[in-house]
């Protein structure tokens, strides 16, 4: 190697060392993009806190228990809203493609804050029961539903499902997230639900 080539090697080595020395300050000033995906989890567990034994065949005036939970991986503490809604098979669910929530009115709701990260979860038990059901020829109508000791009038009819032989309803949970920029809640495009068979 001649002297010019040695000088190039020296300059390159010095530049690398300068970058290493300046890296801590650059890390504070330059906003590096986060590589992790931001998302939230929403789940419903059965009475034994497992993803099994969900209430299905409903007996009137009996109380059932599930757990609802949310996990936060949004990069900061988040303000969530969970709406509890009740529908028959023909009423609309949230639209996962357009991110639109179900137009049905919420019955119960939870508002809570969850820290970000692996330990950032929120979970609560939910008890429910069907209090009043009217039977007709080939349909039923659920009149009142109890959720966490609060009675709600629903008056929701359901026709006989000849494919699955029963009268089916769904108790479902919609997740909403507070957006600090728009200063309002937005449907977070997450929902889960449990099917309820009212045939008995």
């Amino acid at each position: 190697m001649n002297l010019e080539e040695y000088r190039t090697v020296f300059a390159a080595g010095s530049l690398v060392l300068i970058l290493i020395a300046a890296a801590p300050t650059l890390g504070l000033i330059v906003p590096f993009p986060r590589g992790t995906e931001r998302f939230s989890e929403l789940w419903v567990l059965g009475p034994n806190h497992m993803a099994e034994d969900y209430p299905f065949n409903i007996i009137f005036n009996e109380t059932y228990r599930v757990s609802v939970g949310v996990g936060n991986h949004m990069g900061s503490s988040s303000y969530y809203l969970v709406y509890v809604k009740f529908r028959n098979q023909t009423q609309p669910l949230p639209d996962a493609v357009t991110s639109e929530p179900s137009p049905l009115a919420p019955l119960f709701e939870y508002r809570f804050f969850v820290a970000d990260g692996d330990g950032g979860t929120w979970e609560t038990p939910l008890t429910f029961g069907i209090l009043k059901v009217s039977h007709y020829n080939k349909s039923v109508s659920v009149g009142r539903i109890l959720i966490n000791d609060v009675v709600f009038l629903v008056d929701t009819p359901a026709s006989w499902d000849s494919k699955y032989n029963g009268f089916y309803y769904q108790l479902f949970f919609e997740l909403w997230l507070y957006n600090t920029t728009s200063q309002s809640f937005h449907h977070h495009n997450r929902f889960v639900g449990i099917w309820l068979n009212m045939t008995s």
Binding site: L28, S76, S77, Y79, E109, F112
Partner: protein
Amino acid sequence: MTFLVLVPQFFVFATFAEVSEDDAASALANAEGALVSAYQAALKAEEAGADVSGLLVRLNEAGGFLAQARIAYRLGDFDEAVRLADLCSESSDGVGNEAVKLRLGVFGPRVMGFWLTVTYSLVGVVAVVLGSFWGWHFFKRRYFERVLRMKPEVSFDES
């Protein structure tokens, strides 16, 4: 006598019902505003590097009150809605103030940490630059000395 008894009852009922519904809507709006403001203060404290886990516990308590207040409002129980919304507002106010204190508490050490980092980096960069110049000059001198020590030889290619 009957009139005297009935009139106050009617009056009390009419006044109670009218005020309660208006108050409920207003109290819910105030509670939501107080809760959001407390949350934003907590977020700022979190961004500043403060541990906000205690604040989140209290925010959850306030959020629980607000959710119950909204349910009561939807069910037409405006008295309960106002009571719960007021509880939410009271809880939220305390959280906002606490969040500001936490943020200010971590501000000083954070600024100090920032300047320490900048100082270390500057010292490092200056040391590298000076070291490089010194190293290059040392290397260059050794290089020329080595070149000057070389003995040129004349050779002939006889092939």
